[in-house]
């Protein structure tokens, strides 16, 4: 079968219409010089796009999923559990896929040279996490609630508290970098990055759910957040 390429029947992973933010979004000023002005060129998805890196457990250290135990002492802030499933749009879980996160500390300060706003760094918090989903697509992190973060986009601009998420899925078409938000954040109406997603239902998809059942008494609050990646189209493939 090695060379039976004339029989190459590949699934399609259609690009969702109107889901992702427009690349040209003037309310977020940094898009101005950083979005392509030429139209994207349409080409079929080929084997290069329908495969992708399957980076697994060998990239993740024992404590990478627990951002509260990466230093001699615990970080300041509200301890939280953030967990959920990585799914395809058809509902199928995505197992064994690398999930990477980064975030600000409890005071909204990032451990990065570029963030010099007057809120202290926490010597016990880096803000980096990694894990791999299990066979059912589950992931779980233990961290602290990040603070809101001021930025220079417009006068008195504040980002709602968020955790950055990076996901590979199983192929190039599924690659996703996004942000997880917390329910009821009063900064939502004022944040151009959150509102760059134009469909309100899609915006809701970025907001985690407080989950009392998963909180640990006297120890941690819990937020549940499922991540839905692109899936194959619904047309059943040819079956011999």
């Amino acid at each position: 079968m090695t060379d039976a390429l004339e029989h190459l029947v590949l699934p399609r992973y259609p690009r969702p219409e109107g889901l992702h933010p427009p690349l040209d979004y003037p309310d977020y000023r940094s898009t101005a010089l950083r979005h392509p002005k030429q139209p994207l060129i349409e080409v079929p998805q080929t084997l290069s796009e329908l495969t992708g890196p399957l980076l697994g457990h060998d990239r993740v250290g024992e404590l990478d999923h627990d951002l509260t135990r990466q230093h001699p002492e615990e970080p300041q802030g509200q301890r939280i559990i953030v967990y959920g499933k990585v799914l395809e749009s058809g509902g199928r879980p995505v197992p064994d896929t690398l999930v990477e996160i980064w975030q600000a500390n409890a005071g909204g300060r990032y451990r990065h040279q570029g963030d010099q706003h007057p809120s202290p760094l926490d010597p016990n918090f880096t803000g980096l996490g990694r894990c791999v989903t299990d066979r059912e697509g589950n992931y779980k992190f233990i961290t602290i609630q990040p603070g809101a973060y001021p930025w220079g986009n417009h006068p008195n601009a504040w980002r709602p508290a968020h955790i950055h998420f990076s996901l590979f899925g199983r192929q190039f078409t599924q690659r996703l970098v996004t942000q997880m938000y917390f329910p009821g954040d009063p900064l939502f109406p004022f944040d151009p990055i959150f509102n760059s997603v134009r469909d309100p239902k899609a915006r809701e998809r970025m907001i985690s759910r407080f989950d009392l059942d998963t909180t640990v008494p006297d120890w941690a609050l819990a937020f549940q957040w499922d991540i839905v990646l692109r899936g194959p189209d619904e047309t059943p493939p040819d079956v011999d």
Binding site: A32, I41, V43, G90
Partner: protein, 184 residues
């Protein structure tokens, strides 16, 4: 019924906390015979280098095969195929790799050797995707069905030029030399 997908958000200015790996640029181990660097600079619409850009690449092995169960010819284990490079303060990225073999197009024709590429940065609300082809593969490039879909005057934005240490290709997310990006 399909679930609503999770929308993209920008990587923002601080992804360097989480995404770069020490071996990120190494698609192949540094000792690999015949390995070379693909380097270039990422530029914005004013021609200024973008220091907070992240480049990721994916490619077949030298035989054109992927270490992936969905390769209908069967997975070939052990070739990582993936590169990740955070641009430096000058906007310079670098990927250490080997040239991929030809990969079939959907009608059984062969594609010219290429990498598929994601570009992320502060100010990009979603990744943009492009390809890197090789300037010393003129015949294969001329027959490549994806390059053929690109207006002739813009194809050069996808073709890396040979250098002493490998290849060079700058990426312009906007401007007169804007790189060709694909609707993947």
């Amino acid at each position: 019924m399909a679930l609503i997908q999770t929308p993209s958000q920008t990587v923002g200015p601080y992804f360097a906390i989480g995404l770069p790996w020490e071996d990120g640029p190494d698609v192949v181990p540094p000792s690999t015979p015949g390995s070379f660097w693909i380097r270039g600079t990422v530029f914005d619409g004013m021609g200024e280098a973008i220091p907070d850009a992240l480049i990721e690449t994916w490619q077949a092995d030298p035989n054109g095969r992927f270490d992936h169960p969905d390769d209908p010819r069967g997975a070939v284990a052990g070739f990582r195929g993936f590169g990740r490079s955070a641009a430096d303060s000058q906007g310079l990225y670098g990927i250490r790799t080997v040239k991929p073999g030809p990969v079939p197009y959907n009608d059984g024709r062969l594609q010219a050797p290429h990498l598929v590429v994601s570009v992320f940065s502060r100010g990009l609300l979603d990744r943009v995707t492009t390809r890197i082809y090789f300037g010393d593969e003129e015949a294969a490039n001329a027959a490549d069905p994806v390059l053929a879909a690109v207006p002739a005057e813009r194809r050069d934005t996808l073709i890396a030029k040979p250098t002493a240490e490998g290849y060079h290709l700058d990426i312009y997310v906007q401007g007169p030399n804007e790189t060709v990006f694909f609707a993947v």
